[in-house]
Amino acid sequence: MTNVARNDPNSPTDEELIERFQQGDIHAFEQIVKRYKDPLLNFIYRFVGNQEQAEDLLQETFLRVYRNRHAYRRVAKFSTWIYTIAGNLARTELRKRKRRRLLSISDLGVEEDKDYEVSDDEFNPEQHVDSLLHDEVIQREINKLSPKFREVIILRDIQEFSYEEISKILRIPIGTVKSRVNRARLRLQSQLKKYLDKK
């Protein structure tokens, strides 16, 4: 899945929409919601690992965009701005959970040692990995990463943002993003290795 892209090149840009919304056009806000709700939901869901909470945080994200629309300045890309809001909310949620000691892998309802069937098709490493690594397993292992690794791997490898955009969203230097992405990938590889070794 990719980050937000306009389907129709003639449709207004995000920046044009937020500008119209700043001038009082509520229809422009509705278009922003339609454009961003699913990519943002996936970003938040991969971050917090719970769809219901992700949707609540997404509601809060749009509420903040609505209330703070005049805080947006055209110097930044709209996507950077909205992803920063959503990322901050998701991070705060994780901190709250940590404090309450509610974080549990059992929330996902995935059994630790569940065996998955391997197809007998002609061997193709990528298809083979697809059958070994179910979405739930990947999500569970993403949840085990620390938030700083989790957010970069979601933004880079799932949402496919550029390093430059990630650097702006997270407000950290581009070099830090690159080294953090590399370390996150190595960490995820060491966690998923046991599933990949079954081949």
Binding site: D38, L41, N42, L58, D135, D157, L186, Q189, L192, L196
Partner: protein, 204 residues
């Protein structure tokens, strides 16, 4: 010879074609001689491919309806999402509470200081008054002696008006009696004037 950790740091740059030709050659030479790094790199490549294929989730059908309702609610609550019962934005909450606490401490300190002042406190309680008279029993406070007597007031009157009466109740005897009465009237008059001046200074 460089360690595996050194090449691990280059994994992403290798996969994203960011290494220079020399770095790339060096990296590949290491891969040829190190099955562990080769396997790790291959795993990362496959995991990245797999992450791109994660099934996306979608919002529930009533998402936009709920959002509209929340926006309407937030409009009712105010621009900063504040309660109608809390008239200040959230960022002023703690400064306002601090200021209120400081004012309260100041007010309590002020009242205690003035409450300790016997004359002022008495002017607030008209039901009974305490007067110093020669006939009342003496009590000692340190080196200072006071004579106290409780005198119920028939009407709401200030201490200044009552004090002379108490003083006039002094026993009068002998020929010097008339002079004594004259003296006590004089004393009472002076006391009244003094008390009036004092009350003026403490009134708000």
């Amino acid at each position: 010879m460089k360690s595996c950790e050194h090449y691990e740091e280059l994994c992403s740059r290798y996969l994203e074609l960011e290494l220079s030709a020399a770095e790339r050659k060096d990296f590949e030479e290491h891969l040829n001689s190190c099955p562990s790094c080769r396997e790790k790199l291959e795993d990362i490549r496959l995991i990245r491919q797999r992450l791109k294929k994660l099934k996306p989730i979608t919002t529930t059908p009533d998402f936009e309806t709920v959002l509209r309702a929340q926006i309407q609610m937030s409009k009712h609550m105010g621009r900063f999402g504040r309660s109608p019962y809390w008239p200040l934005p959230a960022y002023l909450r703690w400064p306002a509470l601090g200021l209120a606490a400081a004012l309260l401490i100041f007010a309590v300190t002020f009242l205690f200081q003035r409450g300790g002042d016997f004359q002022w406190f008495r002017s607030l309680s008209p039901a009974t008054e305490t007067f110093a008279t020669p006939s009342s029993p003496s009590i000692s406070t340190g080196n200072i002696f006071y004579s106290l007597e409780l005198v119920p007031l028939p009407q709401k009157k200030t201490h200044a008006e009552n004090q002379p009466k108490a003083l006039e109740r002094q026993p009068v005897s002998g020929q010097a009696g008339g002079e004594a009465v004259h003296d006590s009237v004089q004393i009472a008059k002076e006391a009244r004037e003094k008390a009036k001046r004092y009350i003026r200074t403490v009134s708000f």
